[in-house]
């Protein structure tokens, strides 16, 4: 069975596993404005999402996401 990843779970995952001090409002910010965010954090986030959901996350679609909430929506769909 695949775990459903709520936005709340996702936010906790970003804070705990990536160590990013993310505020709720920063979920909708452009990724360039999220403190500490970069392409290596994307790699770690994809790995963390795959571990939590038990499903492969297609990176291609995530590359077009411009905010963490958009990444959550795409990951929740996959």
């Amino acid at each position: 069975m695949t775990a459903v990843l709520t936005l709340e779970d996702f936010t906790v995952l970003v804070r705990d596993e990536l160590g990013l001090p993310l505020t709720d409002s920063e979920l909708d910010h452009d990724l360039d404005r999220v403190p500490g965010w970069d392409s290596l954090q994307l790699l770690r986030l994809v790995s963390a999402l795959e571990r939590h959901t038990g499903q492969r996350v297609a990176l291609g679609s995530l590359l077009e996401a411009r905010s963490l909430s958009a990444i959550h929506r795409l990951a929740a769909q996959s």
Partner: protein
Amino acid sequence: MASTEAYLTGVGTFLPGPPVDNATLAKMLGVSEEWIEVFIGTRTRHFARDVGTGEIQWSLADLCAQAAEQALADAGVDRSEIEFIVMGTATPDTLMPATVNHVADQLGLNHLPTYQLQSGCAGAVQALDLGRTLVLAGRHRTGLVIGGDVSSKHLDPSLDFSGKAPSELVNFVLFGDGAGAAVISAEPAGRRLALVRVLNQLTGLGREPGQVIEWFGMADRDSDRQALVEDYKAIEEGVPVMAVEILWELLGDLGWSAEDLDFLLPPQLSGRMTAKITAQLDVPGAEEISCVAETGNNGNALPFLQLERLAERIEPGQRALAVAVESSKWIKAGFAVEAF
């Protein structure tokens, strides 16, 4: 008698084992294969240890001795003619003896001066610089210049890579192992490549290192310090700028223009970074000689891997320029070669 020119008369390289593709590396690290392809752009690399078991299959000395043998064969030089060895590495097998002396042992060489330069991406160029200086000073006629690295010393398959900090994790998707060597001589023979200029310049005064590799002794072996730290943002910003400066500094020193270049050997950070830097170097008339997308970033082996590819293509009268940047303490390096 002093020579007026130093020549690279033979080049050899050695890459351990079969190429390791992104699917295999991604599975081992527990990270996205697609991410490595998109953000690193390196397709394969080689490791001196078994990626499944972690068992060591080659030492750095083994890799370097193999590359040196290839270079001797390529130059058509008998080992008895070798009067010195200079080697650059950031990852020696042991701190003592210096790995260069084990390489000499494997090559059956004795009673000659050996030098080992502790350096990262600029080490091979520094080795070429010292080798060229020894030849031009008339101290020696022919020597071996070697560069190699075994980055997989840090690649422990039993580790959980998912928890690694980005500054540590990035190293595992960039690096590979390998070695290269060249015979340098006062005799214009063999490959007939004149090493006409070498740039080797520390520019890191007061600047934080971009790359740190720690070493641990008995007193701190259980320390939780990261063994590898890469400030990849500083590197992404700093290296392209330095590469352009190196290109123009070398061209100015040589009295060459960019249009005079037939080949360009750009810094080999990763497939993606090298493409970006090459675009910024902007020498459209020169053919790019790169290898990192296939070999991985194996540090001091890279300039020799590029030289080997260059030697197969360059024709008499053609010119090539190599650019290397060491981001540890920000060293500018490069060299120019002219075929005759």
